[in-house]
Symmetry: C3
């Protein structure tokens, strides 16, 4: 079980590193700008989670995460040099897979540290959303999490599914949490689902 | 006294959650973008304070703060659906009240944790200003704290008043700290007070 | 040795505070906007380093750092009032000197806390780059670290030089780490060095 969690976590880091590298490519960044954006995306969420929970920040004690980022970013760079364009949705799909990994793993780590299920759901969401939010703020995009399309909602749903199922079947909980996050997010991208809370309005200054 | 502090803290969280929701409304955000902006505003400053001081982050051990945010955001959304515009100053006044609550409460919590009065003044200012700064960065506004109108100064004054009076009269110190912050900030908004440190200049590139 | 480190650290804080004040001047900010930008630049990187490593944040236990910032910012303001323009490169050179100080001192502090040399190189880079990154995000510039010109790379080189030499000659390691960072950064500014990882491309949406 521990080993599955460990590899799931690394897979999430790799996917988010790819998403960060793709955005750096779209923004025509160079050199270590790429590495900063890949790292911010990949470990920004987990770092925020560990800081808020008062846990040791995961990658300071396990540099393998950093090697994963470097390798994922380098492979993406090589791939982009041969195939000099990316379809617009590639970044969003990579991002969606990363969300699925981190929403569940973030909730898992929070529960393991002895916090309540409610806090676990929130920290799962933070683990999943903060990396991408940091990436978008650094690259001066409007953070995806603040645009509609159920971005944060998918993480809340995935983390909730995980938290509810994990007392019975940890492995199924992991799969169900990840699958539900991924499907809702991909559906939201494809069909433009959104949660409208405000009616159309004009600003009156 | 403890109970008064607790409720003052919750009132500050609620007011800042309202300010975050109002900005989300002005930016035409939807769904959980609203909740993210409300939360960033309401607990961003206190979270930063607790992290820097090395204290447990307050809301991870008391989820009531999160319920306060959710309720305040929902009530604001409902209110905005009926009354589909907000005057431009409403956001600034809500923000000013939040500043008043957090500048004093942030200083109070820092003193309780055994830090010096000088650090308490700074952490009061950080508690009050960082939530709004985070909100503005996420919504891609220029942070209010970096525009003039004595924004951070009001927090420094309020926290200083509190720190100076609290050894004698804790309750009066709380009231005086909050009142001074609120009055200076509202005066700055109304009369365009500012601290000019640079003369008019042209950039020479 | 301790004393040399202490004064080097203060010199770095002062130089970064000047860089923050200069940017605030260019952005025509006023009052405490200047102080916020000077502080974010000067202690943002070190604060991030201490938080991630789980160490007490350095300036909460030694307010001298804050006095250094205030004095550096005030002197810069006075200087700017007499000489109402700054050449474009002044900010970049002040920034380069700050990088040189913090890349080595950040690595030093990480090694002292018992972390591995690899983590020390990364934390040196974070100490040096995060303050300026925070400053640029707050002032709504594209962070220098994400634009080319070997920004982060210089810190990685400087921190690596320091980490490799420090077991033999701490003082020479300090000087060599700082000098290499400064020379590469100034060369990158002057000769437009860059690390190109992506070929020219068009976005295909």
């Amino acid at each position: 079980m521990e080993l599955i969690f460990y590899w799931t976590d690394h897979a999430g880091v790799a996917v988010f590193a790819i998403a960060g590298t793709l955005l750096a490519f779209r923004k025509k960044m160079d050199g270590f700008g790429v590495l900063v954006l890949a790292s911010a995306t990949a470990i920004g969420g987990g770092t925020t989670r560990d800081l808020i929970l008062g846990l040791p920040v995961f990658w300071t004690y396990d540099p393998n995460y950093l090697y994963t980022i470097i390798i994922a970013a380098l492979l993406t760079i090589v791939w982009l040099r041969f195939k000099a364009y990316i379809p617009m949705t590639t970044l969003m799909v990579a991002d969606a897979i990363g969300l699925a990994f981190f929403a569940t793993m973030g909730a898992e780590k929070t529960l393991s540290a002895g916090f309540s299920p409610f806090i676990a759901i929130i920290m799962g969401t933070i683990s999943a959303c903060f990396g991408g939010m940091l990436r978008d703020v650094l690259a001066r995009d409007i953070p995806m999490v603040l645009k509609s399309e159920l971005y944060a909602t998918t993480c809340i749903v995935g983390a909730t599914v995980y938290v509810l199922l994990v007392p019975y079947q940890p492995l199924i909980a992991l799969a169900a949490g990840m699958t539900s996050t991924l499907l809702i997010r991909l559906g939201a991208i494809k069909f433009n689902w959104s949660l409208t809370v405000f009616r159309d309005h004009q600003d009156h200054h």
